[in-house]
Symmetry: C2
Subunit: 397 residues, 2 copies
């Protein structure tokens, strides 16, 4: 009990349950201190998209902290729902993925979090696919899961409550998703589940189900949702205010050195291990140190130094070689043709193949449709095209 749990509390929004002082219930700190064997710390991954950004890295970083304290990270790839898609057929987001899609997305995900997690120490990482148990869940068991909750409890969940009030349709199968996520905790016997603050309900459902199946209920550890580089909205690929883990060191550096002052301390707290009381005093120095430190985490010190140099000397364009789109024979142009003409690939056919293999990114976002094409060079001006891990060009008009 004299252990130092600063690694646990750094940047955490909420840990639950928090026992009252007069309660004899265990706290997470007590459970960690008294653990005779590694605790199992769960983080669920949605493999419908593979590209992840710094916002996603926050629970992964906390997972690493648990690994470093000797515990087991249990990464759960939610392949079951991804492969089912949206049974109503009404949502583009939940389109049905093939087994191969899921495997590729999962691999891309793992590649991107490799710099964060400890993949090597035996017993520190377990990667599980939830189809392992969910695809064998029969109707009897499903009825049992459903019977643990009432309609009123489910409708109290944020999101459902508002939709029900506004008379927007809630389809019955949506009620099963929190229970499926909860059953994942039963299946892997999680001691702790990590998630964003929007996951409190689902993690609490996991606790209830573990209790129902006579397991010790897990703790929930909630982490803040990261605000994007615009300083206003949550970080999101679709809002363009993100820093992707798959991006080039120089891209990362440039985006991060522009992070608004009011976000800097949160970025340092959530995205680095730097002591918060010894950061540079000058705001500009703090921005540069943040950018350097994060690039260092993902690409090493040398790349961080290079990215810093490039940003200082070459201005905005940095270390990424430029390629003039004037060389492309004609527009509209297929992406595969741009890959072939630019020399990033040996031929248009190789470009096509690379896209299909999932090896091509634009601004860090993977493009998988080999027929992707662009109407105008202006659509692509300033964007970074990437093949594999190391080949980058910046497209210019």
């Amino acid at each position: 009990m004299t252990q130092n749990f600063s690694w646990l509390h750094r940047g955490v929004a909420d840990i639950f349950p928090q026992p009252d002082n007069d309660s004899d219930a265990e706290s997470l700190e007590t459970r960690l201190a008294n653990a005779n064997s590694p605790l199992r710390v769960k983080l669920g991954i949605d493999p419908t998209g593979a590209d992840i950004h710094l916002g996603h890295s926050i629970p992964v970083r906390k997972l690493r902290a648990f690994q470093d304290a000797g515990h087991t990270a249990v990464l759960i790839i939610g392949d079951f729902t991804a492969r089912i898609g949206d049974p109503t057929g009404k949502s583009d987001v939940r389109r049905q993925l093939t087994e191969a899609d899921v495997a590729q997305n999962a691999q891309t995900y793992l590649d991107q979090v490799r710099p964060i997690l400890d993949f090597d120490t035996p017993g520190r990482l377990e990667v599980r696919y939830n189809s392992e148990w969910l695809s064998h869940l029969d109707l009897g068991k499903t009825l049992e899961l459903l019977s643990t909750m009432t309609v009123g409890q489910m409708l109290a969940k944020e999101g459902f409550a508002e939709r029900y009030k506004k008379e927007n349709p809630i389809f019955l199968h949506e009620f099963l998703y929190p229970l499926m996520q909860g059953f994942d905790s039963v299946a892997v016997e999680a001691d702790v589940e990590l998630g964003g603050t929007d996951q409190k309900f689902n993690i609490a459902v996991g606790r209830d189900l573990q209790r129902h199946f006579n397991l010790k209920p897990q703790f929930g550890l909630l982490l803040p949702i990261l605000i994007g580089t615009d300083g206003v909205q949550k970080m999101s690929k679709s809002l363009g205010n993100y820093v992707g883990l798959g991006e080039h060191p120089s891209q990362k550096y440039q985006k991060l050195q522009g992070v608004p002052d009011n976000l800097l301390s949160q970025y340092f707290e959530l995205l680095t291990d730097s002591p918060l009381d010894s950061l540079p005093e000058n705001p500009r120095d703090r921005q540069e140190f943040l950018a350097w430190e994060i690039v260092r985490q993902y690409h090493g010190e040398q790349s961080a130094n290079e990215a810093k140099e490039a940003a200082k000397s070459g201005g905005k364009e940095g270390a990424v070689p430029e390629f003039s789109l004037a060389v492309v024979p004609q527009f509209p142009a297929k992406l595969s043709v741009i890959l072939g003409s630019s020399g990033l690939c040996k031929s248009n056919a190789e470009g096509r193949r690379k896209i299909q293999e999932g090896g091509v990114r634009l601004d860090g976002v993977k493009i998988t449709d080999a027929d992707t094409s662009y109407q105008q060079p202006s659509e692509l001006h300033g964007r970074v095209l990437q093949v594999g891990k190391n080949k980058f060009i910046r497209l210019i008009v």
Copy 2:
């Protein structure tokens, strides 16, 4: 289209859908008239209890009418839910039954409806257990079933609506039961489903699911809920206002000759094939004819005549031999001992075995707990004890 469908409409509360005059949708009559092969007419049976009464016989009689018109009766034994019981463990009604319980209840049910249905003509009867398809329903398919309905639609169902308004808990698994019943219609490809007027919602769910799975949706044919012999409440074993199909001819006769005048025409319409315009004019004659006619259906003309004679000559006690409980060695007395002492069974041990085999009834209600016992002879006075189909005694103090 010149066919006579009076057999179809007799005693029916509702047939749906009813196409509007200007709609080109098919009516049930058209579907029947144009059928090139037998239609499949579904009736679901709940095997949690086995003893059935005249109220239950109404849809079975309509099923027979379909058989006589050349169609196939599909009796569905709902063994799946009976074997699961109530997953919340809160309901006594939905206690978990074993496979043997269900098989025995189903057999008792079939024995009782044997006089009503055509069991012999090839192709006229199909008995199916819904565990055949429900026990193999995986989570993906269950999600698909659930996705066909919204929370709002389900909460609009009578029963749910009131409970939700009163803030009585509705457990999530309850939402699956209408969908499971509906999926039965998909599995057996029902063209028509029969049920009481309380089944409209569930039958409509079956239509929606059939449409979802690209089948032609079934018609619903709803039959009234029978008022019991008290003339007030719906016929129910627990209210004591019932006539059980397993009861002795004389018991049936005596109960039915007391049916209140205001119920007589409904009883004739729903429980007999007698032409309604040529019934006896005198109310007493009508009562006696009803009693005779129903006994005749289940036990034949000779038994009906005997029951009538017994009622006229022997007064209330009828043709059932009496047995004085004074012969029982002592009270409290086990039922097995009463069976042994009375000579209905050769020994107390045989009595016990007969109870366990499901062959013993008191006032037509099966007793299956071999340890059933009674405190006082007065509890049993006037009641009819039965072993197998043909051995009856009336217990007296």
